[in-house]
């Protein structure tokens, strides 16, 4: 294929959208954290889908009309930082092809990629190598070099794709966090999916554009750009809008707005600028930009209120942070109170029913800060407080509370929810703090903990070869069982945990686990282990299908 006509380009873009949509979960899983909570793939896919909706509206087969629609649609629909950067990529791509009407040559394509890459670098205040910026640049460089020797658009695109692949593989060399986590950069992988789609769409069959609605992930998922003082958000208004004008200067807008907030992104050209900023003064921001041109698509959200509503509905914080669960016992003053850290609503109810005075939502991937714990401890109406961290990553912050809090605070170093429940069973309101700590600590290991989640990427653990999406069962923090179905892994994990001394098996199922399946498993286990009592409760924790205790 020597040139790319408008019709071919349209098909290439639709292919890119289909592939990104198909791969978005895999891109999401490329998280530096070993658990599934990423959203980069979803955000990029949503952005591209929005752009393709504009592309589909274009009846003309002129290349520059199609790319203009792509650029405008992606700018309008950009979600998350990765989506905004992608929109800039398309903006530059469109610029590079702005004079091309009938068909793009290999040289045109290479120039468009170069422009696209340059635009992404300009959009980001501090470019970081090893990200999608690098992937785009490497692709453009290879495309330009190839175009010098070969005019074929297909050959140029293939060279760009190959270079993008290599750049993605190389991304851990630039970013140590990726290397440690054994993953490649998610945004880079997303961009590679787009290159792959362009390549396959070029000579492939007409793409079936998969425009099924994508569930919007909470954005932004990272703590970056979010500041809290005493738990209250600073710069709480997420403000987004477009400025439409004739001779806009994105750099000038960026410099002026910088002092008004954080997590700022200002991208665009002289005709359209998209502004995203977290600010406490949305009025000032709008006032200034309104003086430069027409404002459009204005969206202002109060993140504090959104966060509260989101936390209520989802068990975890809008930003991946942990907030204090609003539930609290309202009893009279006690000698000793108990604060428990729990990863789900059902577990919060269980801990409260067992006598905890306050629960803080948190756990794997959402560790509460020392400040969150301190607030919970201070809110308990008691002379002394015992903290049950219930996760090994929370023990450290819990211990810090001991030094920060004026009242006596004790920490029972419970490393799992089952350990916390067992420790709480030995809490004796009449006994002293020291006696309680001793008894709770002594008994917390009487229980075995099992957890079932899924692998977000392939890895090897001991003798076990684990593929992505495999269901994995952990006992006391180590991967013990790998399988394809949750029920199968649950059975085998419990087999490994139960012995002749076991008398109680408890399962706490997560927010993604159907209650009917849990009930089914309950029945099977009751029949399989007649010498044990089997209990199943809704735990409501994210990501973990089951938390299991055997005692």
């Amino acid at each position: 294929m020597d040139v790319i006509t408008g019709n071919i380009l349209r098909n290439m873009l639709l292919y890119a959208g289909a592939i990104l949509n198909q791969e978005k979960d895999r891109v999401n899983s490329l998280n530096v954290f070993p658990v599934p909570d990423g959203d980069t793939g979803t955000n990029m896919s949503l952005t591209l889908n929005a752009a393709l909706k504009e592309v589909e509206k274009v009846e003309s087969t002129e290349v520059n009309r199609i790319t203009a629609a792509l650029a405008r649609g992606s700018l309008m629909g950009a979600r998350g930082n990765s989506g905004v950067i992608l929109s800039q990529f398309f903006r530059g791509f469109a610029d590079g092809l702005s004079e091309v009407v009938e068909a793009a040559t290999g040289r045109d394509l290479a120039r468009a990629f170069e422009k696209a890459s340059q635009t992404t670098y300009r959009a980001v205040m501090k470019p970081v190598e090893g990200t999608m910026l690098t992937v785009g640049r490497e692709a453009a460089t290879a495309a330009l070099a190839t175009a010098e020797e070969n005019e074929s658009a297909a050959v140029v695109l293939k060279a760009a794709f190959d270079a993008a692949s290599q750049a993605v593989l190389d991304s851990p060399k630039f970013l140590p966090v990726l290397k440690e986590a054994g993953v490649v950069d998610a945004g880079g992988q997303g961009l590679l999916c787009i290159f792959e789609g362009l390549l396959r769409g070029m000579d492939g069959e007409p793409a079936e554009y998969i425009s099924e609605p994508v569930e919007a992930a909470p954005e932004p998922a990272r703590q970056e750009g979010i500041t809290r003082i005493n738990g209250v958000l600073v710069n709480k208004y997420c403000t987004e809008f477009l400025v439409l004008g004739q001779s806009l200067d994105p750099d000038h807008i960026r410099d002026t707005l910088e002092e008004h907030g954080e997590s700022m992104l200002v991208v665009g050209d002289e005709r359209v600028v998209k502004v995203h900023i977290h600010t406490d003064h949305p009025g000032k921001v709008l006032e200034f930009c309104g003086s430069l041109g027409d404002l459009s698509d204005i969206k202002i959200d109060n993140m504090q209120l959104q966060n509260e509503a989101y936390t209520d509905a989802h068990n975890h914080d809008f930003f991946g942070n942990v907030v204090e669960f609003p539930k609290q016992s309202n009893g009279e003053r006690k000698d000793i109170g108990v604060v428990a850290v729990v990863p789900g609503k059902g577990l919060a109810e269980i801990f409260m029913s067992l006598g905890a005075d306050s629960v803080v939502l948190g756990g794997q991937t959402m560790n509460p800060s020392t400040e969150d714990l301190l607030k919970a401890v201070e809110s308990v109406n008691a002379d002394a407080v015992i903290i049950l961290p219930n996760n090994k990553n929370v023990i450290f912050s819990a211990n810090q509370v001991r030094e920060l809090c004026e009242k006596p605070v004790g920490v029972v170093a419970t490393r799992s929810v089952p350990q916390g429940i067992t420790a709480l069973m030995y809490f004796e309101p009449e006994a002293s703090l020291e006696e309680n700590l001793e008894a709770m600590d002594e008994h917390k290991r009487e229980v075995k903990t099992g957890e079932i989640t899924y692998a977000v990427r392939a890895t090897v653990a001991g003798d076990l070869q684990i593929d992505e999406k495999d269901i994995i069962g952990l006992t006391d923090g180590k991967i013990a069982v790998v399988g394809q179905s949750v029920a199968d892994v649950a059975h085998r994990l419990i087999e490994a945990m139960v012995d002749e001394d076991s008398s109680v098996i408890s399962l706490y199922y997560g927010e993604d686990q159907a209650a009917e399946e849990a009930a089914q498993l309950h029945q099977e286990l009751s029949e399989k282990y007649p010498h044990c009592e089997v209990e199943v409760h809704s735990g409501g924790q994210p990501l973990y299908y089951y938390i299991i205790s055997v005692e």
């Binding site: 109810e349 029913s353 067992l354 069973m425 008398s503 109680v504 005692e551």
Partner: protein
């Protein structure tokens, strides 16, 4: 020659053969299912009782009247005799109160009644009655017998586990275990009697663990009295297999001279604790 007799109430859960062997007399409490009134152990068997307990009508107990006690005292004692009347915790039942009133009534007949508030229930009452009856058989004086009786009362250890706190709650006998209500998990509370009132001691996940823990707690009592023999009573509400394995474990581990007295929790106590309850009561011998 003046004699000493031992009377108790139907809350003592003593097996028939023990009562017969030691000559212990029992005054029954009444059990009411709606309009139907039965006397415990007289016209209501244990198995019939638990079958009816599963039904819709929630039964209640009624203490013996002073006249019931008066009648029993007059039946067993001659003028000049003494009756040791051993009863359920006065904070759980009015039975002791009725006995006290009756004791004044028969004093005019020349019968001396010494009432004992065991601050206990079930076989805890029974074990105290056994101490009294054994003292009588050994030919001890009233003072010597009462000293042994008071020692058993003050050193009695009580551990029991219920399948559900519901019966204690419905009958208003839940005492300090109130705090354990409403737990979402299958928690088996290990309960005790403190100053004659139900109190929570510990919590366990599941009955198996609770029984294991009771075994440990009893072992701690054993260690507390290294130079003494222990008297152990064990009662259950339709849980014979669990009771038997626990009794065997005690006889194996506790170096007992006498075997464990195992009894059924009769209707008087069963109304308040429900099916599945197991109770272990023990005291060091004087």
């Amino acid at each position: 020659m003046a004699r000493i007799h031992v009377v108790t109430d139907s809350g003592s859960d003593l097996p028939q053969e023990v009562r017969d062997q030691l000559g212990i007399h029992v005054v029954p409490l009444s059990i009411q299912f709606g309009d139907d009134i039965y006397r415990d152990g007289v016209d209501l068997s244990v198995s019939d009782f638990y079958a009816r307990l599963e039904g819709d009508i929630m039964p209640s107990t009624c203490q013996p009247s002073p006249a019931d006690f008066e009648q029993k005292y007059l039946e067993v004692a001659e003028p000049g005799d003494t009756v040791i009347s051993v009863h359920m915790s006065s904070r759980l039942s009015g039975t002791y109160q009725s006995a006290v009133i009756a004791s004044n009534m028969v004093a005019e007949e020349g019968i001396k009644v010494v009432t004992v508030d065991t601050k206990s229930a079930s076989i805890g009452i029974g074990l105290v009655a056994v101490v009294a009856a054994q003292g009588v058989r050994a030919g001890l004086s009233l003072e010597e017998i009462l000293e042994r009786v008071n020692y058993a009362v003050s050193e009695m250890h009580v551990f029991f586990v219920v399948d559900t706190l519901e019966y204690l709650r419905r009958n208003g006998r839940i005492g300090n275990a109130q705090a354990l209500l409403g737990t979402l998990l299958n928690i088996k509370p290990i309960l005790t009697l403190q100053d004659g009132v139900v109190s929570p001691l510990e919590k366990a996940r599941g009955k198996g663990k609770a029984l294991k823990r009771i075994h440990e707690l009893v072992g701690q009592v054993r260690a507390k009295y290294p130079n003494k023999d222990l008297a152990v009573g064990l009662t259950h509400a339709m849980a014979p297999a669990e009771a038997q394995s626990l009794a065997e474990a005690f006889e194996r581990d506790l170096e007992l001279k006498d075997s464990v007295i195992t009894g059924l929790i009769g209707p008087t106590i069963g109304v308040h604790v429900g099916k599945g309850t197991l109770a272990v009561l023990l005291h060091p011998k004087y």
